[in-house]
């Protein structure tokens, strides 16, 4: 697969093993600008490992992660985030001691303050732009800003984490099972929210078990099994692929 001009993320021949286990073998994947790319596969197929490699939590044994023409391999997580990659985790990673509003303000500060800025005498309230933007996003995901985030339901925590990632305006958003543990109703509202983001032209990579979510969002699907990509194509192609049927969908 040759990356063309539209490619935002290119995962080039990435290999990662833990001891004798080949978690990822020769993964080669291109994600086009503005698309939603779903990665599906059975448990233990290496989906989360793949995302961990992309955000710098793990360093691949071989291969490279190229984002927007720039190699990310070996960079630290905060540099990768600053380059424009944000991630929603499988178990929501939020600031449980802070309020919903503060949770969203922190990532907004990151663009200017991320690498380091010493401003202990400045009042946070002077960052009116950050406040306004945070309030707007919180409204978008349907939360109330003054709530303590620690007592939110799991679904709400996920929505909050999504709002935190969106507040950074990343070029690439990685979502690890964004609807896991959500009710049908919450799942549908999350799908609507993700569709709305798509209109803004943000590129997304989604790991998902729920086929309803996958087929209503994805432009392209890659199927991962035992650390290898066994199929890659449009939702229609993947749905009809005999290999996939056998390995995953119902075989």
């Amino acid at each position: 697969m040759n990356p063309d001009n539209n490619t935002v993320l290119h995962i080039a021949d990435v290999h990662k093993s833990f001891g004798g286990l080949h978690a990822l073998s020769d993964i080669d994947l291109s994600v086009k600008e503005g698309t939603t790319h779903a990665i599906i596969g059975p448990n233990g197929a290496g989906k989360s490992t793949l995302l961990n490699v992309c955000i710098g939590r793990l360093i691949p044994d071989r291969g490279a992660i190229i984002f927007d023409g720039e190699e990310l391999t070996g960079k630290s997580p905060h540099e990768i985030n600053q380059a424009g990659v944000a991630r929603v985790f499988q178990t929501p990673e939020i600031f449980t001691e802070l309020s919903v509003l503060e949770n969203v303000i922190v990532p907004i500060l990151s663009k200017k303050d991320g690498s380091y800025r010493f401003n202990p005498m400045k009042n946070l309230k002077q960052r009116k732009d950050a406040y306004d933007e945070a309030m707007h996003l919180i409204e978008d995901v349907g939360l109330s800003p003054s709530d303590p985030s620690g007592s939110l339901s799991r679904g709400d925590k996920r929505r909050l984490e999504l709002a935190m990632c969106l507040s950074q305006h990343p070029r690439l958003l990685l979502l690890d099972e964004p609807t896991a543990g959500m009710s049908r109703h919450d799942t549908n509202s999350t799908i609507e929210l993700l569709k709305k983001i798509k209109e803004r032209g943000m590129t997304k990579v989604v790991i998902e078990h729920d086929m309803h979510v996958v087929f209503s969002l994805a432009d392209r699907i890659s199927v991962l099994a035992e650390g290898r990509i066994i199929a890659d194509g449009t939702p229609e192609e993947v749905k009809n692929s005999a290999v996939v049927q056998e390995a995953y969908l119902g075989g």
């Binding site: 905060h78 600053q82 401003n119 400045k122 946070l124």
Partner: protein, 378 residues
């Protein structure tokens, strides 16, 4: 709503805090704490605890070695008295600068680890500093005897300004005002108020929010684009500078410095103060420091004779029994009382005194205020 806004405004907080601190000699007198020595301790340890809370309370990193910075601050201040001048301002300045630099070195290494490993590293560094101050560094620290003023000290600036021979040991001054007794307390009190103001600003700044984010979820901070290490080092250095400031104030009120100031018990004490008052709150550490120093003063002053006098109204046998039970908890053994107090607080009020105050506040005032707002709405 309006009263809440006023209560949250910086000016109101600072005015109330300043008024309370500056009138301490008056309102602490009835409980026997209105004398300068103890008041100075309140201010100095309050400052130490405020600074410690910037690290422990805001970032969640538990340092067991902050006494080292206290000691460095004291030594630097005494050297300033010996070499330069008896004026306290340079002494305080050098105390803060040297402890800040020292904190940078220790923080740079210790902050490579987090959690328990960080705590152990800081403890190890502080104990190393203590032992070095006791032995190898005797030329600087004067070892066991401790660093003191002598008549042979050069005091370059003072001797340039005045040719009058000083009889006996000079005392610390702020442009002519002797820094002992009440003037010493007021100097410490003003520094405490300044220190409190800076801590207040930090906690409300973007920088402070980043520190709270690190405490809450460092993983999220990293994947949100924050380079957490320089932030942590800054927090560590700031709290080290506060400790150095407290140490230099100790030297201001009593110009000598000993290695025991760096011992781990002193590091542990500030942890107790912070937890006792309320970790992560602004005023809590000051309250904790005051409470511990007050109790230390009361309980350590008791001896067996005082106890016998206290229980004299009881029949002889009962009196002796009471004295036997109570005596291990007072005098030298007052740490036993501190231990019991600490356990009670941890078990029943993990949020410290501040949590206790909040509970009382909720029980007695919230009900009535919510009833009021209900009636307003209807």
């Amino acid at each position: 709503m309006l009263s809440k806004k006023i209560a949250n405004s910086e000016l109101a907080i600072m005015l109330i805090f300043s008024a309370v601190v500056l009138t301490m000699p008056i309102w602490l007198a009835p409980i026997g704490a209105g004398y300068p020595d103890l008041l100075q301790k309140f201010a100095i340890f309050g400052l130490f605890a405020i600074g410690y809370n910037i690290l422990f309370g805001m970032t969640g990193y538990l340092s067991f070695g902050h006494a080292a910075f206290l000691g460095v601050g004291s030594y630097a201040a005494v050297w300033s008295f010996k070499l330069l001048t008896m004026n306290v301002l340079p002494a305080v300045l050098f105390g803060v600068l040297f402890s800040g630099a020292f904190a940078f070195l220790i923080g740079y290494v210790s902050l490579r680890r987090s959690g328990i490993y960080f705590s152990i590293l800081t403890l190890a560094f502080a104990q190393m500093s203590y032992n070095l101050a006791y032995s190898v560094l005797t030329p600087i620290t004067n070892g066991e005897t401790g660093l003191q003023l002598t008549n042979k000290d050069p005091r370059i600036i003072d001797s340039l300004l005045s040719s009058e021979p000083v009889i006996g040991l000079p005392s610390t001054v702020l442009f002519g005002i002797k820094m002992s007794g009440y003037s010493g307390f007021y100097f410490c009190a003003v520094v405490l108020i300044l220190g409190f103001f800076i801590a207040l600003r930090i906690s409300r700044s973007p920088f402070g929010l980043v520190l709270k984010g690190i405490k809450s979820n460092q993983t999220r901070m990293k994947f949100t684009g924050f380079n957490t290490r320089p932030y942590m080092i800054t927090a560590f250095v700031i709290s080290g500078m506060y400790a150095g400031l407290a140490g230099s104030l100790m030297a201001v009120t009593d110009p000598l410095a000993g290695a025991e100031r760096m011992q781990w018990t002193a590091s542990g004490e500030v942890v107790l103060m912070t937890i006792l008052g309320g970790v992560g709150t602004l005023i809590g550490p000051v309250l904790g420091a005051g409470l511990i120093k007050y109790f230390e003063n009361i309980f350590s002053a008791f001896n067996d004779r005082a106890l016998h006098e206290l229980f004299a109204f009881l029949p002889d046998g009962v009196e002796n029994l009471f004295v036997t039970i109570v005596s291990p908890f007072v005098g030298e053994g007052w740490h036993l009382t501190l231990g019991v107090l600490f356990m009670i607080i941890i078990v029943f009020l993990p949020g410290g005194i501040i949590q206790g105050i909040e509970r009382i506040n909720n029980r007695f005032f919230k009900k009535s205020s919510s009833a009021k707002s209900d009636s307003n709405e209807s």
